[in-house]
């Protein structure tokens, strides 16, 4: 089947979509957006987190057909014309990336957290990121980056 949706502000369509395939597969394999990562395929790891109609979801658990007509923002859509999003910049500056596979999901989840709650407490950060797994860093640098992005936002 064919699906049409808005991805990162652009109208996109994909053909020959299998009815049972995930939005994640459609983004990566049909729309050339490999930023969202395919790891667990069961909603446990958060590496495929994208916004759909403004709400963070695991794109591996959204049927591609369910995204028909919806607005999707992937990690590729976070940066603007003037460079990286402050969340991305903070992850770079804090060294919150090791292998990098979980990073796109953490970026989208953090972006959503700070949009809703510009100065979160540590427990609020942990709760917001509870659905994103990192197997390299032990999370300390990631938490540093979220705090740094929050204070950068507070100063801007």
């Amino acid at each position: 089947m064919r699906i049409e949706l808005t991805v990162n502000g652009e109208r996109r369509e994909a053909d020959d979509v299998w009815e049972g395939e995930s939005l994640l597969y459609a983004l990566r394999e049909r729309l050339g957006l490999p930023g969202s990562k395919n790891a667990c395929e069961q909603g446990e790891c958060g590496s495929c987190t994208v916004y759909m109609d403004g709400v963070p979801v695991c794109s591996c658990l959204v049927a591609a057909g369910q995204a028909q007509g919806r607005e999707v923002t992937t990690v590729e859509g976070l940066a603007g014309d003037d460079g990286l999003d402050p969340v991305q910049q903070a992850f770079v500056e804090c060294g919150a990336v090791q292998c990098g596979f979980c990073t796109p999901g953490f970026l989208v989840s953090t972006h959503d957290l700070l949009a809703r709650n510009p100065s979160p407490s540590d427990p609020e950060i942990r709760e917001a990121l509870a659905g994103n797994l990192c197997r390299c860093t032990g999370y300390e640098k990631i938490l540093d980056a979220v705090r740094a992005a929050a204070s950068a936002g507070a100063q801007s």
């Binding site: 009815e19 069961q42 909603g43 958060g46 658990l61 049927a63 057909g65």
Partner: protein, 290 residues
Amino acid sequence: MDFLAPSTWAEALAAKAERPDALPVAGGTDVMVELNFDHRRPDALLDLTRVPELREWAWDDGRIRLGAGVTYARVIAELGDRLPGLAMAARTVGSPQIRNRGTVGGNLGAASPAGDSHPALLAADAVVEIASAARGTREVPVAEFFTGVKRNALAPDELIAAVLVAPPAGPQQFCKIGTRNAMVIAVSAFGFALHPDRKEVGTGVGSAAPTPRRADAAAAFLAGELEAAGLWESRAALPDGLAAEFGRRVRDAAAPIDDVRGTAAYRLHTLSVMARRAATWAWDEHRRAA
């Protein structure tokens, strides 16, 4: 595979009548896992996310009628005060991403013995509203809804329309055992409700039997002891050992198995502890509310 995407409730029921083999999908948090892992290949998917009627909740004759497609995130944000037990259960579901998509209706449809909402719905005496194009609407008490492991009372042409839950007359509690606070499929779970208006106790046991089930004998025991001692009226402290005995009787209602998440013996132990704690917390809240 066909992808059916009705945009009204009437269309959804017509589609299910015409294609009883179609697998309903809402938030996808169970169904998509089965598809991604090639565990299930239905002939058709019936996407219910475009049916606006399912996304609403409203008061209905003194009960809250929770549309089957209302997400856990919305139960927490919009109904935390009016459906406290269900909201407590909803907060333990998966992660923010999962709570943004998963629905109570989907939880009932999957009918897993470990479904997080089930103990809370059992304790609150919730009723499942089921509909078909041919026969209209019927109501099934949630205690009669689960018929086996991942099996429920739905006929092939039926869909879950809503869950009907009376707002609580007393405190409610929900407890769940797992290895961390997030992303846990319950090792065991327990829902509890005090119904001081009718001097009854509600219970729900999760992940410790082939289906979610109530612990009716334990509930009747606790309600009877509270009645005999005049505690419903006096709101005095629970007699020493009563909550623990209630916990032991809740344990007796379970029929768990050993599996990858835990042993039967551990499940029984945790149930007795959770039931004791839940009853104590709820009774303390009841006393404070006096």
